[in-house]
Subunit: 428 residues, 2 copies
């Protein structure tokens, strides 16, 4: 499949943040040309006139639990304990592989319609999540969230290793990564085991980290140090990784994460809604950490919308620091695209350039919320939304265009299946 | 014009929050029936199958400066002083009536596409703003933002009174209301004069109030009391009104505003972006204040999107109070519709019931972000967005449907005019 985008306002997201009015050509899964209009002998399967609208790399959602779309709007406005123990956990217990498959596909529909082209997911029933991502055409790193609560530690580690070997190197869009659920849901043996796997495969390990005040206080009381230091002390971060949330980290924590080449993934919407607070984003950036953005799951967000996260990431820091100049749009966009690609290890789809993977989105600037046209980078962060995304391409395949999905599975089937699943597990 | 909506999931927003699967019939500008399907001799000009999607009253945006859409994305990520004095004020100085007309129409396009059916605007060049609102078909209360900085106080008051008489009672969609810009931009004589006008016409007076810490500190230093007490002491609130922002008010302030029947209009997005903080919404509600929601202008927001404001109003209070159960979706929806209608004095379009004005919106629930269907009120606040709005009707007229505008002025003309204006005033 060859596609020529023309009359595009191309935001490349390259190191110089180059932008130009021109063309981008795609052959199979790669970008083969990005530049001014020029003649070619290539014959294209499709030539798409972007009418001056934006063409840019898709967003990288670096932390999500896709199957949890099933629980959207099921347990909102509740105290944390009630939300988790009375509502979410009991439902999760009832999920089978096929449920997780359909929930993931629903999430994929939402990613596609909102311009997200790659996600880092963490859930269980790995095979089914991965199958849905593959069937949906999503670029994905599935992060195992190992936990040995009530389980045999070695078995958990073995299963993770076996999945790691099973799923890596098969599908160019899918990676399987090592991960630990959180400091408070695993034994110290599991941390040691995760570190050993990391060493064996030179592989990064990702983890939920310092999400709530309670998590930090409990860890300090139990181990005399904060979660980042506790996790690092077991060697878990020796090959880097992603640390999710980091709402309650201090400067020392941040310096440690930086020294270990750990990317931090902030989840502003989820942190607000569960009343965990606002992550010290400006401080982490000042420390030189690679900070990326995630949505977390739809049970706590409730949308999987990178526009909302970008917006929040900026304005919450302005409010938290008292400085309206904090976290400008350009920094936020870099976090949502380039830093995200780096955090996930998808460096080959971090910008528009020849040879890069064709993970592209088109953004309509001829809608009221993008007019007048003064500074499109600012508009992307402060006024744009998913209603502006009219085309999403992953690995050279157009999966969403003008409100229609082309992922090969009808969206109404996905909706029907998900509603059926929710009815069943709520009433079971 | 008669319209029949059928197969609708009707959220009435009446006092019992009634919801049902049924029909709503509109004749001219009024709702003539809302209930279960039934036979009728009425012949309808249009019969619209809503396919099970939501039909509800439109959102009431109780504080905005519509013409400021012209400045969207022109001055973001700047310190407050630089933003206002180096960027916004110099541009505003160059605006002529026609500029304000086109800027307002651009805002109207954004209101319509986002499901907002009534706005309370505050700006200058009143005739032009009002003409644009009327031409665009918007329901609007234009609030005069009187200020006598460098002006003759009596002349400002006289002009306000003359406009008040000129514009009220002419167009059923448009009202003209008394208003004072802010405590720090007016003389005490102007406050007394505004109170006299309020008394003469039994009319409420609205004002920007306690938006920044500095405003409160300066007022206390100068007058020995907070802005609410200072304003009230001049009799300005004796017929109620709307107080915009109220980020920095305390319990005593809130009790005063409640006792004066002043509605508070919060503007969470603007307050974050300009780093003013988070208004104590829960406290104001606990005091029994009628709290409504506004977007403020697009120069400080940058969107005019009531979904974003509703979402922020809820999740910011959860974070600020540390309680995930704070400000549940149902409360937020009431603020955005019913409380807003009351604040603006548009009580006749606050819900879906026979005899009420037909200010209605249709919301698509067959999109990924609204699925599965567990609790649609929660979804409206926590995951819906303008991409879900597919029909907006004001006073019985359909002005937006399926991405197309029917306000009688082509949107591309509005975009072109606004871009032309911005180019002119930036380069002048």
């Amino acid at each position: 499949m060859t596609v020529r985008f023309f009359n595009a306002y191309v935001l490349t997201f390259d190191d110089n943040n180059t932008a130009f009015n021109g063309e981008v050509w795609v052959e199979n899964d790669k970008i083969v040309y990005a530049g001014l209009p020029k003649k070619t002998n290539l014959s294209f399967d499709r030539e798409i006139d972007l009418n001056g609208n934006i063409l840019m790399p898709g967003f990288k959602n670096c932390h999500t639990h896709s199957p949890m779309t099933l629980f959207r709007s099921y347990a909102d406005d509740l105290p944390l304990d009630k939300w988790l123990f009375e509502k979410i956990f009991p439902l999760e217990d009832k999920l089978c592989g096929e449920d997780v498959y359909w929930g993931t596909l629903l999430a994929v529909l939402e990613y596609l319609s909102g311009g997200t082209t790659a996600v880092a997911d963490m859930y269980f029933l790995d095979d089914w999540v991965i199958k849905a991502m593959a069937d949906g055409g999503m670029r994905c790193v599935f992060v195992k969230g190992m936990s040995d609560l009530g389980k045999n530690t070695q078995k958990v580690l073995d299963e993770c290793e076996s999945m790691f070997n099973k799923h890596n190197g098969k599908n160019p869009l899918i990676k399987y990564a090592l991960g630990v659920h959180a400091e408070y849901t695993v034994s110290r043996d599991l941390l040691d085991g995760a570190a050993a796997l990391s060493k064996k495969y030179c592989a990064p390990v990702s983890i939920h980290l310092s999400e709530s005040k309670k998590e930090v206080a409990d860890c300090k009381e139990k181990y005399g140090r904060t979660p980042p230091f506790e996790i690092a002390s077991h060697g878990v971060f020796d090959n880097g990784g992603m640390a999710y949330h980091c709402v309650h980290i201090d400067e020392k924590d941040a310096e440690l994460l930086k020294s270990k080449n750990v990317s931090v993934v902030i989840n502003p919407a989820s942190n607000l809604k569960l009343a965990n607070g606002i992550a010290p984003l400006q401080m982490m950036i000042d420390k030189g950490i690679n900070v990326a953005i995630g949505t977390d799951g739809a049970a706590s967000n409730n949308a999987l919308d990178m526009f909302r996260e970008m917006y929040l990431a900026s304005v919450l820091q302005k409010a938290a620091t008292g400085k309206p100049e904090a976290l400008p749009a350009e920094t936020i966009l870099k976090m949502a695209v380039k830093n995200g690609a780096y955090a996930m290890g998808f460096d080959d789809c971090d910008c528009i350039a020849e040879g890069k993977h064709a993970d592209l989105i088109a953004v309509d600037i001829k809608k009221p919320n993008m007019q007048p046209i003064a500074n499109l980078q600012k508009s992307l962060v402060f006024s744009a939304g998913k209603s502006n995304v009219f085309l999403t391409m992953i690995g050279g395949k157009i999966l969403y265009e003008n409100g229609k999905f082309f992922m090969g599975i009808d969206e109404n089937t996905v909706y029907a299946k998900c509603n059926e699943i929710v009815r069943r597990i709520v009433n079971e």
